[in-house]
Each structure stands twice: as structure tokens, then as C-alpha cells.
Symmetry: none
Subunit: 233 residues, 2 copies
DNA sequence: GTCACGTTTCACACGCGGTTAACACAACAC
DNA sequence: GTGTTGTGTTAACCGCGTGTGAAACGTGAC
């Protein structure tokens, strides 16, 4: 399940970065009309809203807030992005929003406020994930699933798979894998990589074992082989 | 009736101005000790607290927040004043404060946040209850039950379990747990975490001991292992 | 076919890392 | 004072993850 946060009227620069850092997906409503918002809404509703009142007529932004609040399915939390001169306009409108940020917008601050409000609203912020060809890895829970089935991976197996999955289709030599995943310089045990690849393939199961491919005389590559990829090596 | 807001450890410059603009009276606690705070408290309690974590040891500020929250008469809202570099330290501490301001402090912004939180106070309820996989924790009465059976937890046990249970499925390193639950900054005794986990598991009982899982070479995770975590689609 | 070279697979031993118990010490009650 | 309870430290124990060597297997060259 992915948290979708409404973003009006645009989502670029530091705002987009903040969304990425927080791990939530923005749904951008450029006009800020309610019907546009409704059209964007996922089945389980928005996890919140970020409204940039700096790049938007202020009264319209406030109207949108009111509409989002008074709907049959209220959107919460609502975070406003403001210019400094707009601060006074917030007086007596405190109930229309839950937090605000004053420009120029700093990525860390926006992300922190987003996370703060989401967690206080009871939402679990979505963790950073890696997904590819039926494999899903949650980097915060240290869990991996293949085709929905939970894989019971050891530490090194997880680290190796994570490295490969975050760099799909690229071929890595055993030496590269040793230095990047294990962290030390090649001591002479290149077989170590082979063995871990073998164990990973076993745990991936017969159907998905080929997600890790052997490139003879070179090394290993991760990726669904059916899907073409404009890779160079 | 005059609203008195606790102010730690000082109240000068833009902060004092913000208080003046908002029309609330500051009660300055220079040390930030709880007994000093209690001595300053008016008969009808504080209307809120502003804690300058920029001019104050951060962990002490966090401890004060926790104490103010867990008192028989909790102080709310709590607003933190921070340096930009302290933003990351707020992660997983979202329940300890209600708002924050990043320095250099602007009078209008501080005043607006103060006003905002004071007006919203009462409308906002921090989730006073955590439930997960047979475990229920009442954050107000400091009681925990597992499968309906009351658990007799000590302070540290309770704090650790609360932290884990409010962040289910996420893996935490011992260092993270030490800094977030204990508040330490030193990494000398990581075994401390192990021992407390062991004691918690013992009190959870054999059937529920596995609610806290060991992630080898990484740390610990809370959550019912049989139920899939809420990330699969 | 044979041979050479690279990869897969297996079995096994070492040691890291977690568990566990016992102890030390401080805080507090009586 | 003594006893109790909570908390952190130390060290012994041990399971299992991990790396290694060697044998089995596959592949391409000739």
C-alpha cells in the first residue's frame, strides 16, 4: 500500500525532493479545483495534502482547504507552503490547515514536517523500496518478497541481492561485488560470491532463479531477462 | 485569564517579541529541570511550552519533552526551536513535540506557530493507545496488556516496547534504539539493548516472545511475523 | 572425441553475533 | 541501618551464518 499525498498546484524542486525522501507519492492537481482533486483520489483516499499557496491565489488556496476539510471524506493533514508576507493572512484560519512552511523551501524542513504530520495522523510513512521483476525489497524492514512470498534471507544474502537489484541489468565482476557488497579488497576468495549467488537462487525458487544471470568469464547480472533493456557493457 | 507558556532555557530577542505579539506570558526555566518547571507552573497549568533545543543539549531537551508529556498533567502544545542540522534528530521522536521552528528565528513565524498551536490545542489528540498483534499499550496509564493479560513492565521496558510497537516492522539498530529510547549518544553498551529485549520477551511470554524479532547483524524489529506487513500489493 | 577453463555444488570448520545468566550498583522504601 | 527493585555490565555459551577448498559439472575450442 502506497501513501498518496495531494500536491497543488505543482510538485517540483525541493518539494519533489521532500516527497522522495519521505517515501510518499505525490498526486499533482494543477488547477486545484475540487473535481480535479476527486479525479486524482486513490481508492483509499489521500494520506494528506500539500498546497503551495505561494504559487497560487491565496483565497483559492484557502477555499480548497475548506473544501478538503468539509468533504464527506476529509483530507488530513493539510500543509501549506507560503511566502513570508502571507503569514498574517493565516490568522483566524488556524483550523483550515495543520502545518505550514515558509519559503524559500528547504528540503529537510519540508520532509520533516511532512513526516511529522503523517505520523501524527496515524499514517505509516512508506519505506524506501526496491522492486524488480516480482522481487520487492523493503529497505527499512529488511524484508524481501518474491512473487508475494516472503524470502528468509541472511544478512549477506540480503545485502548482495539489494546491491544487484538496485543496479539491474548491469554486469558486475566478482571483484566488484566483493568490494562493493563485502567492502574489502579481493582477498582471493572469489568463490564466495558464487556460493552466495547460488544460495540466493535457491531461495528465489526455480521460477525466479534466473533473475540472477551468469555472464560467463565476466560475472553476474540481475534482471528479468524477458524484459529488454538498453544496456551497454 | 492569562496564558502562561513555559520557555526553556531563555526568552530573548525574536522569541520574546513573538510572545509579546501573541499576547502570552512566558515563564522562563533556565535549567530545564523538571522541579524548576513545576515551581513555575501556575495554578491552572501551562498553556504550552517553547523549548529552545538550539541553545541546549539536545538529549536533555528531548528528555524534558518526554517528562512534560508523561506527567499527570501533560503540557501541550510543545514547540521546539532548532538549528537546521538538528532536523534529522527528530526522526522517530514525532510524538514528543507538536511543532518546531528552524533558526534563524523569525518573529512572525514563531508567533504564527505559537498562535496556531495554542488555538488548535485540544482539537489535537496524540494517539493515546497502541495496539498490535495482541499487545495493547495505554500511553496515559502506562499499562500494557498482552492477550488481555496485564504485563508488569518497568520504566525502560515500557519505553522500549512502546518505541518498537509504535514503529512496527521497521528494523532498528542497537545504536538507534539507544539514542531514541535511552537518549544516549555513546555507543559503549550495545548489550544493554539485548538484555532489555530478553526481559521483554520473557514478560511477553513464550507465545508472544516472537513479537520482537532479531534481525541478525542488523538489530531488532517488532511485529507479528505471520501476518504479512502492509507493503505488499 | 579430448582438453582446458569456468561455474556450480557440496561438505565442513571457524568465528561472529545473539542469548543467557549472574553480578554490580544505584535508587528508594521501610 | 537492611531489603527490594530497576538497570547496566560482564562473561560464558552456543547456534548458525559465512567463507573456503575440492570435487562435480557444463561449455566451448580444437
Amino acid at each position: 500500500m502506497i501513501d498518496v499525498v495531494l500536491c497543488v498546484p505543482s510538485c517540483d524542486g525541493p518539494i519533489r525532493k521532500a516527497f522522495e525522501v519521505t517515501g510518499v507519492t505525490p498526486a499533482v492537481a494543477t488547477t486545484g479545483r475540487l473535481n480535479e482533486v476527486v479525479a486524482l483520489e486513490p481508492a483509499d483516499g489521500f494520506a494528506g495534502a500539500v498546497i503551495n499557496a505561494a504559487g497560487f491565489p491565496f483565497t483559492e488556496a484557502m477555499n480548497l482547504c475548506r473544501q478538503l476539510r468539509h468533504r464527506d471524506r476529509p483530507v488530513s493533514p493539510i500543509i501549506l507552503l507560503l511566502d513570508h508576507y502571507q503569514l498574517d493572512d493565516l490568522t483566524f484560519r488556524e483550523d483550515l490547515f495543520d502545518d505550514f512552511v515558509v519559503g524559500p523551501f528547504d528540503v529537510s524542513e519540508v520532509a520533516t514536517r511532512l513526516r511529522h504530520r503523517l505520523r501524527r495522523a496515524g499514517n505509516e510513512t512508506v519505506a524506501a523500496r526496491v522492486e524488480h521483476g516480482g522481487l520487492a525489497m523493503n529497505l527499512e524492514t529488511y524484508q524481501a518478497t518474491i512473487a508475494g512470498r516472503v524470502m528468509d534471507l541472511t544478512y549477506m544474502e540480503y545485502e548482495l541481492l539489494r546491491f544487484l537489484a538496485t543496479n539491474p541489468y548491469r554486469v558486475f565482476t566478482r571483484e566488484t561485488l566483493l568490494s562493493r557488497v563485502w567492502g574489502y579488497e579481493y582477498y582471493g576468495g572469489a568463490r564466495t560470491v558464487d556460493v552466495h549467488v547460488r544460495r540466493l537462487r535457491a531461495k528465489l525458487g526455480e521460477e525466479y532463479a534466473h533473475l540472477i544471470q551468469t555472464v560467463r568469464s565476466v560475472g553476474y547480472r540481475f534482471g528479468a531477462p524477458t524484459e529488454g533493456e538498453p544496456d551497454e557493457d
